[in-house]
Symmetry: C2
Subunit: 282 residues, 2 copies
């Protein structure tokens, strides 16, 4: 596991920069790893620099065989995945044997799905660890990471957003909320945070967000029941650009429960735009 | 008031067909009325057929004078209004005197705003009544109004949506929710129901809603604390078209707490598309 560099960590790698940021972090700390990029999600160019075996979604048999072949016991899922439809999953022999568990996992919400996948791997003798276990410096810290700090009005908007997200937590939805001057303006559904921010920018362009630019917050938080070994809220430079385009004052993110992709660019972009980015206590 | 045809009801008329549907209904039942169309919102062509005085948003002094001039004591607000920014409101002498109350009303959410407006009129000796008091046949009835009925899966999705909306009720947001196969796909923010449905259609076009067409529901309900004399959820043929474009199975709407604009076209459109529209118990 993470504290024992003698063991190789298997990285199941989805889309985006996070798998590679995690790899950098693990290298620096001497943690051995082997990558299992998911076809159609992981960047095929960047993966070339690292030891890897490609896998397709749902190829549980192939994946477990290749994990064992490289001596991986700890497994971490990093990067983006769009929730697949059952019909998109390639079936192999290993998958066939676990289909009842997989079908059960797909009936619930995302949390349910991920817990199901986790149980499946644990039954096969692997241990699922979180990004925070293998690359803790990718986690959002508590407090401001920007020059600009959240003002009293932004703190009040953050409190409103968090209360709403707490109320939504049984429903496996709403990892991001926009609140301006006490009004809930938008709640993230399956469109994702970038989609939510684009909608706010559009509503502002149409004159339907009347608050002056530079007011209001985006708040990102994990769902209360979320399995933090998967699916941590992630933000990066694109999130900051979206918040700027939506005319908000800044972002509040639950510290230790969200990943920063490309932290240097996040801070530079936010500072240039005069936005705050602050890590909130859980 | 509604039960006493000797009194004239003052209709403050916003956008859309509802003010005119209400007028038809009141005429049939011999209730006297006088219209106060709001400039920029009410249809200037259709209003010509009825006795009316134009008013601008915020002209409380002019409006109360004109209501008294026509002997109106009961006042009903019907039709659409976009929440105005304070700077859009024309100030007259009557408004100036009530500015503290108006400013207080604008600090809260929509519910707060409307309660504030209501108190303002009540302090001046008027009584605010609901559309349901003067034109009850515009209200959504309980049960199905379409040939197609909601199946077991749709009923389960409706129950999920209602539980979520109940959880959201303290936050003055979320009058509509889309649930497909138990998953919460979208929650209405300030974009409105048409915006929510357009988003679902777009996500479907992008392959991000993987359920087959003809599954899932739109549920519309009043917010728990909502003042039902204002701002009843409204739906019409455009809502049905939006639900069809989003590939859902149908609509559940809380009976007696939502208005149908153009009921004949709603039913004809839904029947043609094979969608259900059902009135839910409160």
């Amino acid at each position: 596991m993470a504290e024992n560099p003698a063991t190789t960590v298997g990285i199941i790698a989805g889309s985006g920069v996070l798998p590679f940021a995690a790899v950098d972090s693990m290298r620096k700390r001497g943690i051995k790893f082997f990558l299992y990029p998911i076809r159609g999600f992981c960047d095929p160019e960047r993966i070339k620099a690292f030891p890897h075996h490609w896998v397709a979604l749902g190829q549980v048999g192939r994946l477990t065989r290749l994990l064992r072949a490289e001596g991986c016991r700890d497994v971490v899922f990093i990067g983006g995945l769009v929730r697949p439809a059952l019909s998109d999953i390639r079936i192999d022999f290993g998958t066939l044997r676990v289909i009842p568990a997989l079908a059960a996992a797909f009936r619930g919400g995302d949390d349910h799905l991920l817990s199901g996948v986790s149980r499946l791997f644990e039954q096969k003798g692997f241990r699922i660890v979180g990004v925070q276990d293998v690359a803790p410096e990718l986690l959002m810290p508590e407090g401001s990471i920007t020059r600009t700090l959240a003002g009293a009005e932004s703190l009040a908007d953050i409190a409103t957003a968090r209360a709403l997200m707490h109320a939504l937590s049984p429903f496996d939805v709403g990892q991001a909320v926009v609140v301006i001057d006490g009004h809930v303006i938008g709640i993230e559904g399956i469109e994702g945070t970038d989609g939510l921010l684009a909608r706010i920018a559009q509503l502002r362009a149409e004159g339907r967000v009347r608050a002056k630019p530079g007011r209001g917050v985006l708040v990102k938080a994990p769902k209360t029941k979320q399995d933090l070994r998967f699916d941590l809220p992630t933000f990066g430079p694109k999130t900051i650009e979206g918040v700027a385009a939506a005319g908000l004052a800044g972002i509040g993110i639950v510290a230790g429960h969200a990943l920063i992709a490309d932290a240097d660019r996040v801070v530079a972009t936010a500072d240039r735009q005069g936005l705050f980015v602050t890590g909130l206590p859980l």
